[in-house]
C-alpha cells in the first residue's frame, strides 16, 4: 500500500524503477560489507580478549612488584628515582583501511637504542624490587600498545558495523518495499487509465456508427 502520495505518471514510474534498481544493488553491497566487517571484527575481538587478559595479568604482576618496592623505599626516594626518565617512547601513527574503517597502526620508537636501557636511577640507593618492577613493566609495554591498537580498532569497527546494519535494515524493510508498492500502484493506475480510455473509445465508436448508419 502506497503510504505517500505519488503521481501516477510514466515519468514517475521510470524514476521509481531506477530507484529500486539502485536500492537493490546498494542493499546487496552493504550486506556484503556488513558480513565481511563482522567476520573481521570477530577475529579482532578474540585477539583483543586474549591480549587484554595477558596485559592485565602482567600489569597486576608488575603492580605487586611496585608495592614491594614502595614498601622498602621511602616516598621521596621513589619519586626522585622516577624524576628523570632516560627512556622515551614516541609513536608513529599510520592507518590501515579495513572495509572503509580507518584503523590506527602504531609504530613504536624508543629514544635510546637499547630497549632495556631504562633504569634512570642510581642502583645504590634504590631497592632491587624497583628494578624487577620496572623491567616487568617494560616487558609488557609492547603488548600494551598492541592492545591499544586492537581495542581501538574493535571500537571503531563495532561502530561501523552498527551503522551498516542500520542501513541494510532501512533499505531492506523500508525503502525497497515502499518503492515496490509505489511502482505497483502506478502501474495499476496506468493500466486502469488505459482500460477506461479503451472503453470510452469503444463507446464513442458505437455512438458514431449509430449516428452515421442508424445501427
Amino acid at each position: 500500500m502506497a503510504t505517500k502520495q505519488v503521481n501516477p505518471t510514466r515519468m514517475e514510474l521510470t524514476r521509481l524503477k531506477k530507484k529500486l534498481a539502485t536500492a537493490t544493488k546498494g542493499h546487496k553491497l552493504l550486506k556484503d560489507k556488513r558480513d565481511e566487517l563482522m567476520r573481521q571484527f570477530l577475529d579482532m575481538v578474540k585477539l583483543n580478549k586474549q591480549l587484554r587478559e595477558k596485559v592485565e595479568k602482567a600489569i597486576n604482576e608488575a603492580n605487586k612488584n611496585f608495592v614491594l618496592a614502595s614498601a622498602s623505599m621511602n616516598d621521596e626516594a621513589l619519586s626522585l628515582s622516577m624524576l628523570a626518565p632516560k627512556q622515551e617512547v614516541t609513536l608513529e601513527v599510520s592507518s590501515t583501511n579495513i572495509m572503509s574503517v580507518e584503523v590506527p597502526k602504531y609504530k613504536i620508537n624508543y629514544r635510546t637504542a637499547d630497549t632495556n636501557d631504562m633504569f634512570c636511577y642510581g642502583l645504590a640507593f634504590t631497592s632491587c624490587d624497583l628494578d624487577t618492577a620496572v623491567s616487568s613493566l617494560s616487558d609488557v609495554l609492547p603488548d600494551m600498545l598492541r592492545l591499544a591498537e586492537v581495542e581501538k580498532s574493535c571500537q571503531l569497527m563495532a561502530d561501523e558495523i552498527e551503522k551498516t546494519r542500520r542501513r541494510v535494515n532501512a533499505l531492506e524493510h523500508v525503502l525497497i518495499p515502499e518503492t515496490r508498492a509505489n511502482i505497483r500502484y502506478i502501474s495499476m493506475k496506468l493500466d486502469e487509465n488505459e482500460r477506461s480510455t479503451q472503453t470510452r473509445l469503444m463507446k464513442v465508436k458505437d455512438m458514431m456508427l449509430k449516428e452515421a448508419h442508424g445501427y
Binding site: K49, N60, P104, A148
Partner: protein, 105 residues
Amino acid sequence: MYRVAVIGDKESIYGFAALGLDVVYPENTLQAQEAFRKLTQSNYAVIYITEELAEVLDEEIEKFSYKSTPAIIRIPGVKGNTGKGMMNVKKSVEKAVGSDIVFNN
C-alpha cells in the same frame, strides 16, 4: 610524532615514568577532568587510564570511542582488577553483533 600518556593514582602508575611514558596523577575529580581534557587535546595517540579513574571520567571517555585518536585504554590499578576493561570489550561485541557471543559468561 605522537606520545603516550598514563593517568591514574600515583601508586598504580608511577612506574610508567621510567619507561618514558608521560604520567599524570590528579588528586581529585575536578583535577582529573581537567588533566584528561588537556591530554586529549594534546599530541597523545594512546592514553592509558586506571579502571578506578575511568569510572569517574566515564562520560568523557565515551566521547572518544568514535574517534580514531586518541585511543583510551583502561588498565588495572594497584588495587586490583575490577574487570571494567574487559566489560568494555564485551560492550563493543554487544554493539556490533547484538548479543554477546565471544565471552559467554
